[in-house]
């Protein structure tokens, strides 16, 4: 845009203000994460002190504590089990359903709509009957109960997300293959699957994110055998107060892997978080 002299100085001012605002927002966004990491490498006396310390002698003792004296490792194994099993259940089921919705419009949109409302259920309202049911069949404190609930709550999301991706694959490609004699399954496997594979990866990563971060189900349905990472992170309070150091160390270990995944799906983050509504 071309503008006259006084306008130009005004633009410079606006520009400086904008950059300043960006810096402020960045600092506020990053600060809690920075503080989490700092606290995780501080000695107790540096954690509980005023004014808060910026320069201190770092220590890794809280990480040792987390790995050796808390249930972090079993929690990690459980979390990974739940995440992998949830993905293994959710993705194939959602892929088939999404394909059917995208190509045949099964249920005329109503079915899809009903499935979407499931995702809107407040988990706490859904958990009470599930708690009683799992209690009756002996599935409390069992990773299977978490897999079932995570699969249920994630499948509406993955179905909608994949539905959007399937719609972007031109129908002509499949029809051409079918005219040349391929079966629908053959056309799906040879033509559609390679095109949808990246989307499956995106859906799997989002499922991983939501399942890993999930706390309420794990909190209510597990006690000791099946506790997940989030459950371990929530367990650092004692009669003498909260163990801030180990808590920060465990929180860092819980949060950082998801940052890496988020960077992988950076391009799709908006699309993912809106179930494919915003591209």
């Amino acid at each position: 845009m071309l503008q006259a002299g006084s306008r130009k100085t005004k633009n410079v001012v606006v520009d400086v203000l904008c950059h300043f605002a960006v810096i402020v927002i960045m600092v506020i966004t990053v600060f809690p994460l920075f503080w989490m990491f700092m606290t995780s490498i501080k000695m107790e006396h540096d954690i509980l002190t005023l004014p808060p310390t910026l320069l201190f002698e770092p220590t890794l003792k809280h990480y040792y504590f987390v790995f050796e004296r808390s249930k972090f490792i079993p929690g990690l194994i459980n979390s990974l089990t739940v995440v992998c099993a949830t993905i293994a259940v959710t993705i194939p089921i959602s892929m088939l359903a999404a394909y059917s919705f995208a190509r045949f419009n099964v249920g005329g949109g109503h079915l899809q709509f009903y499935i979407l409302t499931v995702r809107m259920f407040p988990p706490i309202a859904a958990i009470i009957p599930f708690f009683v049911i799992f209690r009756n069949v002996g599935l409390l404190d069992n990773v299977l109960s978490l897999v079932i609930l995570n699969a249920l709550f994630n499948s509406p999301f993955t179905i909608w997300l994949l539905y959007g991706f399937f719609r972007e694959i031109p129908l002509d490609l499949e029809e051409a293959a079918m005219i040349e004699g391929a079966t629908r399954f053959g056309a799906f496997r040879e033509i559609v699957l390679p095109l949808i594979a990246p989307a499956l990866a995106v859906a799997a990563i989002f499922t991983c994110l939501f399942t890993w971060n999930e706390f309420l189900f794990a909190f209510i349905l597990t006690r000791s055998e099946a506790i997940t990472v989030t459950r371990v992170v929530a367990g650092f309070w004692t009669e003498r107060g909260i163990l801030w150091g180990p808590l920060s160390a465990a929180a860092s270990l819980c949060v950082v892997p998801m940052f890496i995944f988020a960077m992988l799906v950076q391009r799709y983050i908006v699309r993912g978080l809106t179930f494919g509504a915003v591209k």
Partner: protein
């Protein structure tokens, strides 16, 4: 074509998803309806049919329930009225030619993917009435600071600030996607006619962005109404009951007092409330 042969295939494909979704929603739903007519208490083992008494208690405005509902609404309104304008502001900022824009965009996605229970507890530490860095910095800046989560008047505000930190990027990223999709032509002609930046924003950007603003707000409202993790991470509903939002109240009724019957009745109404809102809202989105 092989249409006839394929008549049942579409249904076959969705079958597994239907079993998962219907099986796992309808059965518990009936279970909840069944329990909502009983005074089931899994601690004492009491379990009798009491008809509609749970609903009666609920509609007679159990004061604790009424308080938690009004708190939840206050929380949701508070969050929404900060996050929407702020998110729009950040989106407009990111839509400008700014150095390091991609890095900025990547950084603001971090709060969104951090487990609320993990990062929330870090905020709990930052809000600490004695050693909290937030209190320290606010005192440094303004000379005085509230006790945040330790003060019943500020505890809910503390939760709103945390939620704003975590979820404003969500609003910003959605609106940014919208801004980047706006056609340049209306702006060009508006510039030719001498419109100011404010006028362009008011008469071009806002109307064109309305569908996305609505969408972001609806997503936010649905999530805000079910807020649980931040309460569990930061305040445990306290001090007193100052931050006992509906989800947390329901947790206490169901899993602290173990009044499964009453909890089921509240759950059902909560569920219907959210579903009603969702259906109305989604219909609105579909029309946009």
């Amino acid at each position: 074509m092989k249409i006839n042969k394929e008549k049942y295939m579409p249904w076959l494909l969705v079958l597994s998803a239907l079993i998962l979704v219907f099986g796992l929603t309808l059965y518990p739903l009936f279970h909840a309806i069944y329990f909502s007519a009983r005074n089931t208490d899994i601690k004492t083992g009491q379990d009798d049919f009491i008809g509609l008494k749970n609903y009666q208690r609920l509609l007679n405005f159990d004061p604790d329930l009424a308080d938690s509902v009004s708190r939840t609404l206050m929380f949701a309104v508070g969050c929404l009225s900060i996050q929407m304008p702020l998110g729009l502001g950040i989106a407009l900022l990111l839509n400008r030619e700014i150095k390091g824009r991609r890095a900025f965009r990547a950084i603001i996605t971090l709060p969104l993917v951090a487990a609320p229970i993990a990062i929330g507890q870090i905020w709990r530490y930052m809000y600490h009435y004695e050693f909290g860095v937030i209190k320290y910095m606010v005192t440094l800046l303004f000379g005085t600071s509230p006790n945040w989560t330790a003060d019943p008047d500020w505890a809910l505000v503390s939760l709103i600030i945390f939620d704003t930190w975590q979820w404003t990027p969500f609003v910003a990223l959605i609106l940014l996607a919208g801004l980047q999709g706006l056609p340049p032509e209306p702006y060009e002609s508006a510039t030719i006619y001498g419109a100011s930046a404010l006028q362009k924003f008011r008469y071009i950007t806002l109307p064109k962005m309305r569908p996305l603003i609505t969408l972001a707000a609806i997503f936010r409202i649905i999530d805000l109404l079910k807020t649980y993790d931040p309460v569990a991470a930061i305040t445990w509903g306290g001090p007193g009951r100052a931050t006992e939002l509906l989800s947390y109240f329901l947790y206490r009724v169901g899993f602290y007092y173990f009044w499964v019957g009453y909890a089921s009745a509240i759950s059902l109404l909560f569920l219907y409330g959210v579903i009603f809102f969702t259906v109305v809202a989604l219909k609105k989105i579909a029309r946009l």
